[in-house]
């Protein structure tokens, strides 16, 4: 254990002993759809308390990587090591947050109801919802500033509120690792700033965030590290040293870069 690992890891559920810092390591990961290779040669190691931007052009395999890390897709080869053990199936410690556009927001459920879904790994099919569960849901709603909205239907939320509801669900799940597909997409400037602030809070309390992201200009402001991919890994490292015009050009193939304005 090094000095860098002394950061306190908050875990609301209790019962976990954090003797060593939580490490996520991905080794030589290859994923394919049927016969077509979607991703290969992904190698990186990180730990709780960081936020990572997953960057790459359309079709680079960002969603595929997130889904594989979440256990939703099987890797052909390579391994994902979480806390020293190979990850083979879904774990409550790893939460997956799909793109907001992939979700039916007309589904009849309230904000609280959606956040309560996060308790499923603990409850299973039939176990009754306990005070402990209610307590954790309450804390998740509080942390994401959703207490006033908890009884609102999810179809009456703004984009930023929808994203916060997703985050609260992940917190209720007591997830250590949050995998987010394009969380900033479709949010206006203030909502983006707010989400970025919440990201910093979440990493400060020791969670690991990995989010696909397409706005190259905000990467350095919103994230600690960057993982640039284009079907294979281009570079991984902190944003200052790795998110350079040369590396971006390698991922986007030339002209594209910091100059894309929206």
């Amino acid at each position: 254990m090094t000095s860098a690992t002394s950061k306190e890891h908050v875990c609301w559920g209790g019962g976990h002993n954090h003797a060593h810092h939580h490490q996520l390591e991905v080794r030589e990961l290859c994923v394919s759809y049927r016969d077509v290779s979607a991703l290969s040669g992904i190698n990186f190691a990180t730990e709780c308390g960081r936020s990572i931007a997953l960057i790459g052009p359309n079709g680079a395999g960002k969603s595929t990587l997130l889904k594989t890390l979440a256990g939703l897709m099987q890797a052909d080869s390579g391994s994902i090591i979480w806390r020293g053990k190979a990850l083979t199936k879904s774990s409550h410690e790893i939460a997956y947050l799909p793109q907001r556009g992939d979700v039916d927001w007309n589904f009849p459920i309230t904000v609280r109801g959606l956040v309560e879904m996060g308790r499923y790994p603990n409850l299973g099919w039939w176990r009754s919802y306990s005070r402990h569960d209610a307590d954790i849901v309450q804390r998740a709603l509080t942390a994401m500033d959703l207490l006033d909205l908890q009884d609102r239907q999810i179809n009456a939320l703004s984009g930023g509120q929808q994203q916060r509801t997703f985050l609260a669900r992940a917190l209720a799940q007591e997830a250590h690792v949050l995998l987010l597909d394009e969380p900033f997409t479709g949010l206006d400037k203030p909502a983006q700033e707010n989400l970025s602030r919440l990201f910093r809070e979440l990493t400060a309390e020791g969670r690991l965030l990995i989010a696909s992201h397409h706005d190259l200009q905000t990467v350095s402001g919103f994230f600690d590290d960057v993982l640039l991919i284009k079907r294979t890994q281009v570079v991984f490292g902190d944003v200052v040293t790795s998110f350079t015009p040369e590396n971006i050009a390698r991922a986007y193939g030339g002209a594209a870069g910091m100059t894309n304005d929206e």
């Binding site: 889904k67 979440a70 256990g71 939703l72 199936k89 879904s90 409550h92 790893i94 939460a95 997956y96 947050l97 799909p98 992939d102 979700v103 039916d104 589904f107 009849p108 459920i109 309230t110 109801g113 959606l114 879904m117 996060g118 499923y120 790994p121 409850l123 099919w125 039939w126 239907q153 179809n155 009456a156 703004s158 669900r169 799940q173």
Partner: protein, 284 residues
Amino acid sequence: MTTFPTLTDFLAEPIAKRALLACLMIGFSNGFVSAFVVLRKSALKIGTLSHALLPGIALAVLMVGLTQWSALAGAVFAALIVGLGSIFLSRTSRLDQDTSMGILYTTAFAGGYLILTRLDMRQKLDEWLFGSIVGMADSDLWIAFGISLIAVIALTALQRPLLIYLFEPNIAASLGVPVRFLNYATFAITILVLISSLQAVGCILSVGLMVAPAATVYLLTNNARTLFWGGGLIGAFGSVAAFFISYPLGWSVSATIILVLGSLFLLAYIFSPRYGLFSKRTQH
């Protein structure tokens, strides 16, 4: 069928009592399952499956003769063939599953129709196309009762994982919800309930019975659980009401059931306080 002078005379007959009981049970179970169909957005798939059942029944009748059980087994068989066949076709060709299903079920339906007409079973054919809720035997009722019981118990027991799965399958899988199991279990329940509605209203109208009740409640409530029980109540109420409306007018019961359910839906669509045409709902 002999005619009875008044409704009360008719109600004294065992055939009428059976029909009324059938309306109640089949209406409730179909309405209950319609909540799943609406949340899953699979109304069109149900229409496909209901047509796919006909050739299975025809084939079973051709092979082992007509009994309740052979018809049932044939229906299950046909649904599996078309359901799994379309998945297989779409995986092994460049066609998507909807296209594959469209080809498979119409071909199967055409084949089934020809077999049944060749077998000189036009009378029966009519019942399968448009239902025969008034002609049900005791054994039919028991099967309908068993199916209703299984559907209600299973969907109630699976409610928690099922709702997460219906909201977003990827989130469900990442939470450890047994997505594949739910897929198969709900498919099996859907087939069973379809068979009961096939008997009641026939394969052409069965989609209505398995969609309209919960679609109506969907316009009135924000609670997913209410959809199931509310759908069941509306399905049962609509079917029983249709029974009483149809008799004095001499209408077909099955067509009246769908007409009543459609009218209830229209009322909710226009007058729902929250999601109706006249509600002053503002989004965002």
